[in-house]
C-alpha cells in the first residue's frame, strides 16, 4: 500500500465526515459536542464548545440565524433540534467571557474599514493570530447594525463587554471615520492589508460580483471585501461572520506570502458525505421555549438537547464484532494497518488484528461507500507473507490441516464406478467430510442415482485456508492441482456442498462450471424420498458468509425447506447481509477469543434452532451451545438416532479421523477397494473432558499426542515424577514441540496434560 492507495482506501470510510449540521454551519460549530454538554446540563461546557469556533461568542450565540437547523436529520422524526434557542440559552446562562488566547505579536498591521459583524469577526480572528488590527468605523462606536437590534435580544452591555474583549486583544478602534475610496487608498499605504466591509450603506460601491468568491480579494493587492447583506437586504448573521472569517484567512495568507487559493475547500458551508441511519429511532417532538427571548428553563434545555442524534455512521461497526473489538472504525484501522505494514524495525502490534478479520464482507454490503475491510486485511496478509512478516503461528495449523485434507490419507478423485464418462463431479468439501454423520455417502449415492452421464467424487480441500492466509502461491498451487484432475476427468460440472468451495472455485477457476448441491437438488434431481430429521419448531436459516452473493443458492435452500415442510424464519441479518460464523478468514486461528465472540453474537441473533448449509458454521454454532442443524440432516437419515441439533462439534482430531475414515469407507462401498487403516502412530490414550478442551484450544491433535507417546516409549527419553509415577515426554515433529504428561495403563496411556511451544531449547548438554 502506498500513500495514495492509503488515502483512497481511507477516503471510502465516511466516519470522520462532518455531520450535516456542522457542515452547513459556515464556521463549523461542533453541534454534537454542544448538544451533549447541553443535554447533561453543563452550560459552561457547552459554552466552551461555542468559544472554540465563534467570534464574539456572547453576541453571536444570542443572534445566530442557525442554518444548521435546516439540515438536521431530526426533521422527519420530531423536527430539527432547536440549535438557535439552545445557543441563546447557553449564552444567557454563561458570562460574556474572557479574552481568548492570542499568539505573540507578528509585527504586521491590518486595517478594517467598518465595524459591523464581518469586520469584528476579522478583527477577532486576526488579533488571535497576533496581528495588530485597527478598525476604522463611522459614527461614535463599532457594532454597526448590531446596535439596531432590540435590547432584549442583544443587550447593549453584552455588545460593549464583547467589544471590550476585542480591545484587550489589542484591536484599536478609530471612530468618526468617513469610509471612502480616498480613505482606502490612504490606509492601504500604512497597513499590510485592508478589509473593506460592505455592510449597510456600502459607501465604496463594491458588490459581491467584484470579488473573488474564494478569497474575497478585490482589485488592488492586499485589499479584501466582504460582509454584504443578502440581495433582498436581509442580513444572515452567520453569513456576515463567514465573510469576516474568510477574509481574515485571506489576509493571513497574503501577509504570510502563502498562496491565497489552495486547500480552501473546507472553509464555509461544505458538502458532507456523512450518513446516519434513522432505523429504529423513535420520534421525539421538538419543543421551543415559551419565551424565545428568555430561552429555555434548565430542564427544558436538557430535554431538547437530548433529542440530538449525535449523527455519525458506524454502520459497519454496529454489525461487526471484529470492527467493534478494536474500538475504532475503518478509517482509523486503515491508517493503523498502513503504519503497521510500514514498520521496518520494531513491533508490529496490529498483525493479530489484520489476521482476525473473518473476510466475510458484511461491512462492504452495509457501507454507503462500499468500504471493504476484507480487501484491506487480505491484501495486508499477502503483503506480510511476501515480506516474511506473517507470524508463523497465525495460520500454520489451518495450512497443515489443508495439507492433510489434500494428502494421501484423505484426498480422493474418482469417476463413478463402471462409467467412462464423468458429467458431474461431487465435491463435498473438507469440513463436511470431517463431520461424523456428514451424510456424504448418502448424498453421493443419491446424485449417482438421479443424474445422468456419470457422477464422479472428489474429496479434498478447495484451498480456502491458503487464500485466507494470504498465501497466494500456495493457493494457486492447490487450485491448479485440482484443475488438472478436473481436466483429466473430462471437465465435468462441479457440484459442491460447501459454499466456500463454490465461491473459491468460481473466483479462482471460473472455467470450471460449478453449482451448489442445493440448487441441483432443488431444480434437477428433486428431493430424496426417504427423509431425515424434521424439526418440530421453526428454524432460523443461517446463510454462510461465502454464499452472501449467491442468491440462487439461498433461494434453493429455502425452497428445499418449504418442500420438506420445515417451517423457517429469517434472521435479522441474512442473505446478502448475513453474518459470519467466526470461521471465515481463519479468524479462529489468529484470534480464538474474538472468533468465539463473533460466533456467540451470531448465535444470539435468534432463540430458534439454526439451520446451516455449511458444516463449519454448524459446528461452530454448536460449539458455543447453539442448537443447529445442517441441511443434510433434514434431507437424509443419518446413522445417529439423536436429535442432530445436539450433535457436538467434532473437534480437530475427530475431523481428521473422520476424513480418513470417509475415504476408506467410500472406497470400500463404492469402488469395492479395501484400504487398511494406517498402522497407529502410537498408543491409544484417554483424557478427561478438560484436557480434551485444552487440546482443542491449543490446536494439539490426537496424532501429536500419540507420536509423542510413541517416541517416549520406544526411546525411553522421558522424565519420571517419583511422587506420582507420571512420565513427562516431548517430541518435535517439525516446528512445534509437544509435551505429554501421562502414565501407561496396560497398552493405553492416561494423559494428564499436554502443551506445546514453538521456541527451541538449544544447548542442553553442550
Amino acid at each position: 500500500m502506498n500513500q495514495q492507495e492509503l488515502r483512497d482506501i481511507e477516503h471510502r470510510c465516511i466516519e470522520e465526515e462532518q455531520p450535516r449540521c456542522q457542515a452547513a454551519c459556515p464556521i463549523h460549530v461542533d453541534v454534537r459536542a454542544f448538544m451533549a454538554k447541553m443535554a447533561s446540563g453543563d452550560l459552561s461546557g457547552a459554552r466552551k464548545v461555542l468559544d472554540r469556533t465563534m467570534p464574539l461568542p456572547g453576541v453571536l450565540a444570542r443572534i445566530c440565524d442557525h442554518p444548521c437547523e435546516e439540515v438536521c436529520l431530526r426533521e422527519s422524526i420530531g423536527g430539527p433540534l432547536a440549535m438557535g434557542h439552545l445557543e441563546r440559552t447557553c449564552a444567557l446562562g454563561t458570562p460574556t467571557g474572557g479574552k481568548p488566547m492570542c499568539m505573540p505579536a507578528k509585527g504586521k498591521s491590518v486595517a478594517g474599514l467598518g465595524g459591523d459583524l464581518s469586520a469584528l469577526t476579522l478583527a477577532w480572528d486576526l488579533a488571535k493570530k497576533g496581528y495588530a488590527v485597527t478598525l476604522l468605523v463611522p459614527g461614535d462606536a463599532p457594532g454597526g447594525a448590531l446596535r439596531d437590534l432590540p435590547s432584549d435580544i442583544l443587550p447593549p452591555e453584552v455588545l460593549t463587554e464583547s467589544l471590550d474583549i476585542l480591545g484587550r486583544m489589542g484591536v484599536t478602534v478609530k471612530t468618526g471615520q468617513t469610509l471612502s475610496d480616498d480613505l482606502l487608498t490612504e490606509v492601504r499605504q500604512h497597513f499590510d492589508a485592508v478589509y473593506v466591509e460592505c455592510a449597510g450603506d456600502n459607501p465604496l460601491g463594491r458588490s459581491r460580483a467584484d470579488v473573488d468568491p474564494v478569497t474575497l480579494a478585490y482589485g488592488p493587492e492586499g485589499v479584501f471585501c466582504g460582509g454584504w447583506p443578502a440581495p433582498d437586504g436581509n442580513r444572515s448573521v452567520i453569513t456576515l461572520v463567514a465573510d469576516g472569517r474568510r477574509a481574515g484567512a485571506s489576509v493571513d495568507r497574503f501577509i504570510s506570502g502563502a498562496t491565497l487559493t489552495t486547500s480552501r475547500e473546507k472553509e464555509g458551508v461544505v458538502a458532507t458525505r456523512s450518513f446516519t441511519s434513522l432505523k429504529g429511532i423513535a420520534t421525539a417532538a421538538r419543543s421551543d421555549p415559551d419565551d424565545p427571548v428568555a430561552g429555555y428553563a434548565p430542564e427544558a434545555a436538557k430535554a431538547e438537547a437530548a433529542r440530538c442524534l449525535h449523527c455519525d455512521c458506524m454502520e459497519c461497526v454496529k454489525v461487526c464484532e471484529y470492527l467493534k473489538h478494536y474500538k475504532g472504525y475503518p478509517k482509523l484501522y486503515t491508517r493503523q494497518i498502513y503504519n503497521n505494514l510500514s514498520i521496518v524495525l520494531g513491533n508490529h502490534y496490529l498483525n493479530r488484528m489484520i489476521d482476525s478479520c473473518t473476510l466475510c464482507g458484511l461491512c462492504t454490503e452495509i457501507c454507503p461507500e462500499d468500504f471493504s475491510m476484507a480487501e484491506l486485511c487480505l491484501d495486508s496478509r499477502r503483503d506480510m507473507v511476501k515480506r516474511g512478516k506473517m507470524p508463523p503461528s497465525a495460520h500454520e495449523f489451518a495450512l497443515e490441516d489443508m495439507a492433510f485434507s489434500n494428502g494421501p490419507d484423505c484426498a480422493l478423485v474418482r469417476k463413478e464406478p463402471g462409467r467412462d464418462a464423468c458429467a458431474h463431479l461431487f465435491f463435498p468439501g473438507c469440513q463436511l467430510a470431517g463431520e461424523p454423520d456428514g451424510r456424504i455417502p448418502q448424498a453421493y449415492a443419491f446424485l449417482r442415482e438421479k443424474l445422468d452421464g456419470g457422477v464422479g467424487l472428489a474429496l479434498g480441500c478447495c484451498g480456502a485456508p491458503a487464500l485466507w492466509a494470504g498465501r497466494q502461491p500456495l493457493f494457486e498451487e492447490v487450485v491448479a492441482a485440482f484443475k488438472a484432475q478436473w481436466e483429466a476427468l473430462g471437465k465435468p460440472r462441479l457440484i459442491t456442498a460447501c459454499s466456500s468451495c463454490l465461491s473459491v472455485f468460481r473466483q479462482a477457476a471460473p472455467e470450471i462450471p460449478a453449482v451448489s448441491l442445493w440448487e441441483v437438488m432443488e431444480a434437477e434431481t428433486g428431493l430424496p424420498e426417504t427423509t431425515g430429521f424434521s424439526p418440530a419448531a421453526p428454524v432460523a436459516v443461517h446463510d454462510s458468509c461465502t454464499s452472501r452473493h449467491n442468491e440462487p443458492l439461498q433461494t434453493a435452500v429455502r425452497a428445499i425447506l418449504a418442500k420438506r415442510g420445515v417451517a423457517f424464519e429469517e434472521l435479522p441479518l441474512s442473505g446478502r447481509y448475513t453474518e459470519c460464523c467466526g470461521y471465515g478468514g481463519l479468524a479462529g486461528n489468529a484470534h480464538p477469543e474474538l472468533a468465539k465472540a463473533i460466533t456467540e453474537r451470531r448465535a444470539a441473533a435468534s432463540d430458534k434452532d439454526f439451520l446451516a448449509t455449511c458444516a463449519m458454521c454448524r459446528d461452530r454454532l454448536s460449539h458455543v451451545g447453539k442448537r443447529a442443524y445442517h441441511l443434510l440432516d433434514i434431507l437424509f437419515p443419518g446413522d445417529a438416532t439423536d436429535d442432530p441439533a445436539t450433535r457436538p462439534d467434532p473437534g480437530f482430531s475427530m475431523r481428521h479421523e473422520t476424513r480418513a475414515r470417509l475415504r476408506r469407507q467410500l472406497l470400500a462401498a463404492v469402488w469395492n477397494e479395501q484400504v487398511d487403516a494406517k498402522a497407529p502412530a502410537g498408543p491409544d490414550f484417554v483424557v478427561s473432558p478438560e484436557v480434551r478442551a485444552r487440546m482443542e484450544a491449543r490446536h494439539i491433535l490426537d496424532d501429536d499426542v500419540k507420536r509423542t507417546l510413541a517416541h517416549a516409549e520406544t526411546t525411553g527419553r522421558k522424565f519420571l515424577d517419583r511422587e506420582t509415577g507420571h512420565f513427562l515426554a516431548s517430541f518435535t515433529p517439525h516446528r512445534v514441540t509437544y509435551w505429554v504428561e501421562y502414565v501407561m495403563e496396560g497398552d493405553v496411556a492416561r494423559v494428564f496434560t499436554t502443551y506445546s511451544h514453538r521456541m527451541s531449547v538449544n544447548n542442553v548438554g553442550k
Binding site: 507470524p391 526411546t715 522424565f719 519420571l720 515424577d721 509435551w739 521456541m759 527451541s760 548438554g765
Partner: protein, 71 residues
C-alpha cells in the same frame, strides 16, 4: 549478562526415566525466529534432555513467542 531465570517444576520429584540419574539445573538458551533468551531448567546431563514445565511453555515462553512473531 543478567543471571538467567530459573524455571523448575512446580511439584513432583523428577528424575530422568531413561538413565535413572538425577536432574540438574542448567542454563539453556531458547530461541525462536530471530530472538531468544536464557533460562535455567532442570536437565539430565547424561541424556541431554531439558524439562520444560507447562507453566513456562504456556506463560513466559508463549509471551516471548508472540513478541518475536510481531517483530
Amino acid at each position: 549478562m543478567a543471571e538467567s531465570l530459573v524455571y523448575l517444576p512446580q511439584s513432583g520429584d523428577w528424575t530422568c526415566a531413561g538413565c535413572g540419574g538425577p536432574l540438574e539445573p542448567k542454563e539453556t538458551d531458547v530461541t525462536y525466529l530471530e530472538g531468544g533468551f536464557n533460562i535455567t531448567l532442570l536437565t539430565c546431563p547424561k541424556c541431554n534432555m531439558a524439562l520444560l514445565p507447562e507453566y513456562v511453555a504456556m506463560g513466559k515462553m508463549l509471551e516471548v513467542e508472540q513478541l518475536l512473531e510481531d517483530k
